[in-house]
Every structure is written in structure tokens, then in C-alpha cells.
Symmetry: D2
Subunit: 317 residues, 4 copies
């Protein structure tokens, strides 16, 4: 099952789960439409050819959806009943934080072995160096900003570019370094507008240079538009534009990194279930597959790499 | 000189102008920053190596800018003086409508031979089948919508995607056909909201299908956000999202089509000047290079291909 | 049916044929595996959802194959019988020269209405300005050469890059102009090795510059490796490399141009059949859909654009 | 200085070295053309704008070249003299194994502080989890194989695709997993042709399936062509093709991963020199910057990830 926001590489993970299950002489079933689909019995058996030629595709062939019903005891009881009726012994959930919380309840209330695979572009899951989809999303954002730099540079403009990341600045931070941006604003660090303005006064000159400021969706002082407006009020001579990259960051063919990661974690998820594990997320830490209890990954917060934060400014000077 | 909004392929055109000039034993100069740069004498000689390795790059190495001053008689007099001081005998302007209007005044008031090369992503120039940058911009929009389709399809969502085109629906129309969109809304055709809603009722089902509506920036009834809101009010069950592609459409490495077109038109521009032509835009019509008087290209409006409009609906059913 | 070598955009054409047929209240069937599949009855009905989400994919969902059997009277009789058994009244063949020749026999011997849609990356079909797949193939070749230029330039190397085109230099010629190559060698023009060597002596210096020569697969004097060797013998100081782009040029997501062209021609093919046409290829000439008798497109040869040939040298100097 | 084969991300590393040097109030110089350029005094000062807008470009603005002369004591003496004449106190070499060996001699004979930054697509450097250019090269190979899969699948063909890696199978192994290849052949593991044939007999059927075998350049039993021929002899019914990806894997715009890695390592190189380090390579291990003595990185060999090797077969079944 895939659950929550879709991420590039989810299909590679589905393929790995199915193929590894078959390799271990298990049967594999796909649940369509996340927890809601599970409740409604949208379940079909998957053979090896059902997952052929999907490793390179964005989105998820199993689709995803929100489920209000699964948040109720009754909803989860219906879900458990569906699994029983289809003689499904164990479940792999590919998704994020919220999906794993749902899984925890299902385990506690119905003793169903569930393991999780981290699939979200935001990379905001504790216990894994990288989530499936993150590398691709940053590549997509970087390619988009490269294009914006062409036009920024042609017109000596200052662009505020908003990238995804409602709660975390992972995408923003790497995008900023990788595009040579002048500054980056993330939810984890309070925005110092005065400092930003002083910095821009030194680094950006509407007569002969351009500038890029990367703003994470969840930046706390109001987001790209608000900040751009404040800067514009103080500097009416600046040629300012705002661009919100939006949903393009969720789609697209996964990068090799995400495909390999998804293949490893999907295979490890089946291995873990065969080994009687449950209530864990499979993660990758220092190149090793790790088992992270759902409890831990849900409660803890992953921090930005502190060495990367100052690098943006050092390299833009 | 490049002028107006930048477009992918402008660098290929600059290269073609410079190399063809040198091939004909002329000297070549680049004017930096459009008409404003001309007025301020931002002029440097360009040798063959100055335009090496730029054919594949977006933006414009000559930069571009608006000039209020050039709209005055005095400004144009200063521009003419700069040309005289640099012993420049003729001028190639790569840009759009507004740039050619400026050129016309320069010709009338100072008898300077100027020819134009159509460089704009919008394709809204009469007298040429295609403008430099248009093919690339549509490819960029199509690739972005392909990504959005991944996520639309994973969540059964209805997306309204806004593409560039303030006055013309060229980008929107081709993007719609090339992405298999359900509908397209363009400035040239009045939006019939009731018809759109009926169509969506038949074609989009939030339980099991997704949908894409392409909206040109210049759509007359309010744009992507307004229309999305109206549809949402009538159909609160729809899972609607809006995405504005924005400035990414201006940048990026030009497609082969735009590079070849730019090479042909840039070379033809120099040929035309050597042949004592002036006040014309170089265009391509039915694979032939054509000379289009500035007057004509400024006054007339290019129409959408009428055969493409109905195709969107036929192929989405 | 798709037949012959696959080309990007074939899926877009299949989608257009199916959807237009359904729009006209006809049933649509897919024949899998070209003429051989037809003979063996590999035929399945296609509904609108069978062609959903394929417009952006390379290859062909209907697959393709050679058929020795179809070249015999008996083979074609079996093919005709299969069509009769499946109550198929008319056939659209998406492919090239050879596919249309086969279609001609089927029409003559069994009076089955067949029309053709030009699908081949080589662009070597008389009667249409462009074939489906050509634009994408050139874009793919150009992107590959852009990458090779990075490394050529870093090491001051001279690269001979072989692109597809067994009988025609269309891909080679546009690739050469679009990448700013020093020279292009095509089957249509006899290679003058002495002239090439003199040119390279002037333009390439292993101490401080790099060079790219684009060679079409079907070049007559021996191809990229042979020519590279001859040049190397005369100039042992040159740092020469050969790269054969190969099959990557056949695949990949089609460009917007090929998707729109395929959509137009696929729709026009159904329209033509509804209008009692047969034994014609649908083509595009000067932006208009045209009907080209199979006879004509098979017998005649399309020529290279004579204006583009000298442009390579003018712009590389 | 960049040295050895070029790799995507070298420009990002150059930028990071220059900008970090300036940030620390040092002057920065670029040495053009590797060790040979150093010997010949091809040295120019670099300001912050000289490295603007290069982070996204493939190749290396400092170029690279082999130097026979630098392998001699006399050559290195001339190199040291050039550094002295230009008052250059310390050197950053971006390259691979061979480049670091050269650096070691320079340090030993002339006591010049040199540190290394690992720049090579092959990833075959001990002491760092990843080398600059490796991620991009794998992405390029994967995108190429995706395209080849389109055509393989359309024609039920078996492709042997050769990727770079003269001494190491890193690129091959990740490419194989990321493309869902049937098998991978690398220099580190002896090719068992009988096993491969048995495997293909089970997994590939020229009537209805396709297959991809990834072969590293340095595979020991003869490479892609030889193996393809042997398989073809035993299975004349197979529809076999060979594709050598070649030099496209060296070029192209670097991925976000390589740009960030290059930025980190380039900055760390300057930090290390300021901290009086020498004769070390900067590497990244488990997300931490590490100092690896040249001695170690030159002597030791990095191994393939043993968990990835069996994954190819498990997931292809």
C-alpha cells in the first residue's frame, strides 16, 4: 500500500516488495487507494508482470488517498477484516509520518504485522538518512531554478522561489546550495529580514547582477510572497519576481538514487516481515539498512545538516 | 541586441548573427541590456570565440531590459549617436512586437538599417510560423504537466495548470494536446464555464479518475485560480489543485528546433542587411525564410490553428 | 498497428486513432506485433482507458516486429482472414516505407481499406514535412552531443559522433547545426576527406580547442570509425574519440512536437477512413494535413533542406 | 586544478574552492590544463565572478590533460617553480587516483601543501562514500537505458548495454538495479557465462519479453560485444543488440547530489589547507567530511556494496 502524498520511487518500492515476496514464495497483493481503499476492499493480487516496467515511473500505481474513516476504531476494524478476508498476513505501508501512525493503531488493535517504508519527498522522517522521493524532488527543484536563473540573469532580477517543505527545509537547503542561491529561508531557522536585506544590498544590484532566494513552503514569517513584498517595499528599485514551483516537485521519473533506495528498502521490508518484525520503519543510515521502531520515527524530528546551512552564504559571496 | 522578455534560443541567434557577419568579413558588436544599453553605450566587439559554446544555453548573454528612455525622441537620438560613435552600420534586434516598434522609430528618425529576428516564447508574432523559444517553452510546459499528471493520477485530482501567454493561447493549446489534457482555456476563445462544468461532470470522477485543464495566463474570465474556485464552489467533492508554471517556461536549454530556427534566422538577418534590406522581420513560413515588413508583423495578429482547437476535446473523450 | 522500427510518438498516434474512432462511434482494435501479430491473430479491442496515460511514453504499446510471412501471398491471405474474423473494416498502419509497401499489397489483394501514419525517427518519407519521432530523436541526439561537448572541451578533443540514419542525413544535419558542430557527413553528399582534413586543420587545434563532427550511420565512405581512423593516421597529434549514439535515439518520452503531430495524424487517419479513403499516407505539409498516395511516398525520396547544408560550415567558422 | 578524466560537478568544486578562499581573505588562482598546464604556467587569478553561473555546467572550466612530463623529476621541479613564481602557497587538485599520486611526489620533493578533492565518475576511490560526478553519471546511464528499454520492449529484444567503469562496477551495479535490468556483469566478479545463459533462458523469451544486461567497460571476459556474441551463438533465435553508452556519461549538468557534494568538499579543501593539512583527500563518509591520507586512498580499493549485488537477480525474477 502507498499512503499519504505520492513521491517518485514509490513504484520502485512496490516492485521491490512484490518481487521479493514472490522470490520468497509468498503471494503479493496490492491495496489501491491507501487506507481508504483497504477499508473498501480495493485489493488485487499482483504477479511479477504487474510490476514490470514501472520502476522508472513517477506517481504510484496503487494510488493514494486520505481516509477519515481509518482514524476511527470502526474504520480500522473494517480494514483488519478486509485483510483477514483476503488472507493477507502482513502489510507493507509506503508513506510518511501519518501513514505510520495509522499503522501503529492497526498493529495495536488487531495484531497485524505491519512494516513501513519511508516514501515522501520532504525527507522529514527520523531514522533514515533519506526518504524515497527526496533526491528526485531536489533534482526537479534544482532544474527548475536553473531555468529561472537563465531569465533572472538576462534581466538582472531578484527571484524568490518557493519550494516544497511544509515542516522542513531539507529540499530548500539542498536546492539553495545546488543552484548557488544567495540565501535560503527554512522553517527550522527564524527568518531575520533585516539581515536578509543587508545581505541583498551587498550582493544584488539591479543594474548588473541577479539573485535567487530559496524559500521553503513552511517558512514561518509568511512565505515567499510576503517576504518578497517586504523587500520590495524597502527597495522599490529591485526587479523582484516570485515563483512557486508547486506540484511538479512531486512527480517525474525517479532518480537512480531513489530507485536504488526504494529497491533496497522494499526488499528489506519483506525480509523484515519474513523475520517476524513489525511496527518498524525500514531506513538507511550510513549505507546500512536499519530497523526503526514506528514510535521513534513518529516522535523524533530529523534535523537539518548543520554544516550545510552556513555553506549557502559562504559560497554566494 | 536582444530585447524584451528573454527566450531560449536567443543565444543561438546571437551566435548565428556574429558568425555570419564574420564569414562575410564584417565586424560584429554586441549591445548589452537592450535599447537602454544601446543608449548608455554598453557595446562590445564580439569575436567568434565570444559566441562559442553558447548555442545550448538559455537566457541571453547580451541581457535584456526595458527602456522608458528609448520611447522618447531624445532617447532614440542618443541611441543613434552611440551607433554612429561605434561605427555600427546596421542593427539586428532579436525580440518581439515591442522591440520591432522601437526599431521602426529608429529607422524613421535616423535612417539606420535595422532588421528583426522573432525571439519570444509566446509565438504571437504575425509573419512567422514559429518564434524562437516557443518550441522549447512548450516542451518545458509539457514536461512539467507530465510530472503533475503523476500526482494528479495518484490522488484522483483535478488540476488547473496555468501556462504563459498573456495575449495568446499558443503555448496553452499545444501543451493541452501534448499532455492529453481534458480542456484548454485561451484568451482567443471566450470561456464557457457551464460547458466546462458539464464536460468535467462527464469526464472527471474524484473516485477513480484525474483531470488536467490547461489555462493560458491571459484567459479572459479571471485565470486559473478564479475558474478553479468557481468549479470548486459548484463541486465541493472535487479534489482540485492549481499550479502556475511561471518563469521556468522562459529558461532552459533550447530544443533542437529552436536552435536550428535561431541559426537560420540569425544568418538570414545578416544576409538581409548585406542585401540592403531594412525594417523587416525575418520569419519562417512553410519552411522558407521570409521577409516580413515590421509594419505588417506589428499590425496583424496571428491566429491559433483552428484544426487544433477541437482536437483537445475529441482526444480526451 | 505499429510496424517497423519503433519511434517516440507512436503511442500518441495509437491513442489518437482509438479516441477518434470512439468519438465517431466506431470500435477500435489493437493489433499486437505488427504484420506478424496480425497473421497470428494477436488482436484485442481497445477502449478509451486502454490508451490513457500513454501519450508521454516512448516505444509502442502495440509492439512491433518483422514478418517474413507477410511478404508472401499466403501470409497476407491469413492476415486478411484475421481481419475478417474480427470484423475489422479498416486498418491504420503506423510505420515507415516498408510498412506501407506491405499495406499496398493487402489493399490490392484483399480490398481492405488501409491508411498509413508516418512513424519513423529517420524522417525519410516523401510527402510529409516531418515524421513522428524525428523531432524527439534529434532532441535526444542533441542532448547527447551537448554532454559529449562538455568532455571534448575539457580535454581539447576531436569527436566523431555517429547518429542514426541509414539512408538519410536528416538527423545528422539538424544535430550538427543544433550543436554547433564543425562538420556533418551524410549519405546524400559524398564525403570529401581532403576537404574535411583541411577544414579541421584550420578549425581544430589539439592544444586549445575541441571539435565535433557528426556522421550519419549511412555515410558512404565507411562511417565514423573509418573516417576517424583516416584522420588519425594523417594527424597523430589529434586527440580523437568516436562515439556511436545508437539505440537511445529510438526511445524516450516524445517531444511536444511529436505528440501533437501524432495526435493530428492519428485523428486524420480515422477521418480519412470514415471518408472512404484508402492507400494513402497522412502527412503534414506546410502545417496542413495532406493525403499522399502510398505509391508516391514509396517511390519518391525526400531531400535534405539545401539551405541547411552550408549553414553548418558558415556558423562553425 | 582539475586533473584526469573530467566529471560533472568539477565546476561546482572549483567554485567552492574559489569562493571559500575569498571568504577567508585568500587569493585564488586557476591552473588550466592539469599538471601540464601547471608546468607551462597556464595560471590565472580567479575572482568571485569568474566562477559565477558555472555550478550547473558539466566539464571543467579549468580543462584537464595528461602530462608525461609531470611524471619526471624535472617536470615536477618546473611545476614547483611555477607555483613559486605565482606566489601560490597551496594547491587543491580535483581528480582521481593518478592525480593524487602526482600530488604526493610534488609534496615530497618540494614540500608544497596539496590536498585532493575526489572528482571522477567511476567512484573507485577509497575513503569516500561517493566521488564527484558518480551520481550524475549513473543518472545519465539510467536515463539512457530507460530509452533503450522502450525500444527493447517494443521489439522483444535482448540488449547488452556497456556502461563506463574500467576497473570498477559501481556505475554498472547501480544502473542495473535502477533500470530493473535482468543481469549485471562487473570487473569485480568473474562472469559465469553458463549461469547467465541459464538465467536468460528462464527470463527472456524473444516471443514476448525483453531483457537488459548491464556490462561494465572493464568486465573481464571480453566486454559487451564478446558476451553478446557468445550468447547469440548459443541462441540464434534471440534478437540481440549491443549498445555502448560511451562518453555521454562524462558530461551533462551535475545532479543536485554532485553539486552539493562538490560544494562541501571544495569548501572543506580550503578549510583543510588553512588548518595546515596536506597530502590528504577530502572525502565524505556517513555524511561527515573526512580527511583521508593520499597514501591510503591510493593503496586501498573500494569494494562494491555486497548487499546490492544479489538484489539485481532477486528483483528481476
Amino acid at each position: 500500500m502507498t499512503s499519504g502524498g505520492d513521491a517518485p520511487g514509490m513504484n520502485a518500492a512496490i516492485r521491490a516488495v512484490v518481487r521479493t515476496a514472490l522470490y520468497n514464495n509468498c503471494e503479493a497483493f496490492g491495496i489501491y487507494g491507501g487506507y481508504q481503499g483497504l477499508i473498501e476492499g480495493e485489493i488485487r493480487q499482483l504477479g511479477r508482470y504487474d510490476v514490470s516496467n514501472i520502476i522508472q515511473r513517477g506517481g504510484t500505481i496503487l494510488k493514494s488517498a486520505r481516509s477519515v474513516e481509518f482514524k476511527t476504531v470502526e474504520g480500522r476494524a473494517r480494514a483488519a477484516q478486509q485483510l483477514a478476508e483476503h488472507q493477507i498476513d502482513a502489510l507493507v505501508v509506503i508513506g510518511g509520518d501519518g501513514s505510520f501512525t495509522g499503522a501503529k493503531y492497526l498493529i495495536q488493535e488487531h495484531d497485524i504485522p505491519v512494516v513501513g517504508v519511508p516514501g515522501t519527498i520532504d525527507n522529514d522522517l527520523y531514522g533514515t538518512d533519506s526518504t524515497i522521493g527526496y533526491d528526485t524532488a531536489v533534482n526537479t527543484a534544482v532544474e527548475a531554478v536553473d531555468k529561472i536563473k537563465d531569465t533572472a540573469s538576462a534581466h538582472n532580477r531578484l527571484f524568490f522561489v518557493e519550494v516544497m517543505g511544509r515542516d522542513a527545509g531539507f529540499i530548500a537547503l539542498r536546492t539553495a546550495i545546488a543552484t548557488g542561491a544567495e540565501a535560503v529561508l527554512v522553517p527550522e531557522i527564524e527568518t531575520d529580514l533585516t539581515d536578509l536585506e543587508h545581505f541583498l544590498e551587498r550582493e544584488y544590484n539591479p543594474k548588473n547582477s541577479s539573485g535567487i532566494v530559496i524559500v521553503a513552503e513552511g517558512e514561518k514569517s509568511g512565505g515567499a510572497y510576503t517576504i518578497a513584498e517586504k523587500v520590495a517595499q524597502k527597495h522599490p528599485d529591485y526587479d523582484i519576481r516570485v515563483s512557486v514551483l508547486g506540484h511538479i516537485q512531486r512527480g517525474g521519473s525517479p532518480s537512480q538514487f531513489d530507485r536504488v533506495l526504494a529497491s533496497q528498502l522494499g526488499a528489506a521490508a519483506v525480509d523484515a516481515l519474513m523475520d517476524d518484525q513489525k511496527s518498524i520503519m525500514l531506513g538507511i543510515m550510513n549505507k546500512e539498512i536499519v530497523h526503526v521502531p514506528f514510535n521513534k520515527t513518529i516522535k523524533h524530528t530529523k534535523n537539518l545538516n548543520p554544516e550545510l546551512v552556513p555553506l549557502v552564504r559562504i559560497l554566494s559571496v
